[in-house]
Symmetry: C2
Amino acid sequence: MKNIKVFCPGSVANISCGFDILGLCLDNIGDEIIVTEKKEPGIELELTGNYKIPNDINKNAASISAIALLNSYKELNYGFKISIEKKIKPGSGIGSSAASSAGSVYAINELLNRPFSKKELINFALEGEFACTKSYHADNIAAVLLGGITLVRSNKELDIIKLNTPLELFVTIIHPQIEIKTSDSRSIVNRKFEISKVIEQSSNLGAFVSALYNEDYDLISRCIHDIIAEPHRSELIPEFRNLKEIAISNGSIGFGISGSGPSMFSLARGPEKAYFIKKELEKHLQIKKINFKSYVSSVNDEGVKII
Amino acid sequence: MKNIKVFCPGSVANISCGFDILGLCLDNIGDEIIVTEKKEPGIELELTGNYKIPNDINKNAASISAIALLNSYKELNYGFKISIEKKIKPGSGIGSSAASSAGSVYAINELLNRPFSKKELINFALEGEFACTKSYHADNIAAVLLGGITLVRSNKELDIIKLNTPLELFVTIIHPQIEIKTSDSRSIVNRKFEISKVIEQSSNLGAFVSALYNEDYDLISRCIHDIIAEPHRSELIPEFRNLKEIAISNGSIGFGISGSGPSMFSLARGPEKAYFIKKELEKHLQIKKINFKSYVSSVNDEGVKII
């Protein structure tokens, strides 16, 4: 019976100027999934790692996505065991459910000799994402499956574009060990926006996309603004304003909330700057006695991969 | 006494997905301005051409822009006569005031041996634009002065990016000879927008910018949507819906309102398609007995220029 092991990277959704649109795939930070063929048809789950996730195959994002894939494939006289070593904490804001969902369908598709396109895999993984977040948003999943920095033009048509990744772009992630209710975090979506705000948000996104193609780090730094979610969500994250100030004054070219938080991201040009920013942010959190995890990562242009 | 003659091109603002953000510079369609040095300090106006515009130097966009430039320069013991041959009808929606404003400051800057940067020229030309439109919007002016397709990230900071122009992109302009009150046209700016609309508008803009860099004409065609202005402004333009349908069914990759109308634009890949679409649109307007002007233009990557 064949098996395959894949690295299922974390991801940063939104990147401030692309609320519900942009996603960025991380390296170093991710779950590991081993999918093994088994004699009995259907899906079986095995969970390891430090974090509790559902072990019911109808409630777990990885198995729900896998079932969606198998339902679109011809009937098989064998099945798959999905062993998940969960390394990304659920609710961290760096795409924990997307990593598992994307990882399981990617691995099974490889074992089946790739009957499905990446776009079809996104569709299956969305079912797992929906089970966790109650909405069909492809921003994290697209980044994990395609790698690099992705833009969801339409969730409905599943029109997804992989943008260019500037080579020297590095990400610092700070994950304060607190819980945010997703319901609090999503409540902002019921508001309405003045036309001036619509223009501000979208002009920053348009300019950011241009900056990625021109590898213009100065322009990137002028675009990383979020007038939609950050003004509200940042209230739920202790020390957000101070951390942002520390990052920017130490050379960050952009600081914001990763997904719906509580993780925060900082962008920097080159790994040295990214590590320096990480150290400065850590110092502040230690003084404030807030527990955290922190990482530095390049942009993972490959996405989910066999290891 | 030196003189200079410049071609002051028309432009398409908004391009559907970039309300108040995008501008595209046209070729073939534009005013001509001759600026001649004169012995007496100050600005003098001479107007020719088919269209009536103010001949008071404090009310004419070209002279107001020129005065703004001279006020930022050292005192001169001579002046300039601006002769405008107006070929773009004011209120047409293809940047009539921007053409005059940009053209006059460009010409004077050349005669002075370029003391000012393009960005500074945009600032001066904005004064002329403000006199006509009562708002500081650089979308048309940026396209005319920089050429190509431009994105205004911020009017306040005057942060403007010149995007990439796909080589085979051609524009068809249809200008029905009707008047639209600018006040009717601007009334949409007082509305508020649901978050889903904000995301739709900005994801189309982000994807459009990516499509320009990748010269992806299919993606361009999926991005040219305007959920902000078109649903309202199109009501003011007779036959808009039918014309759009005719353009799209004849190979247009995008059809919308140019600026605040009544001119409409269609994008196409290659000049043959653009001319064919023009012919089909003309047929329909002739049947409906609506007077119009129509043009086909490549994207003018150079912008305003000496002729």
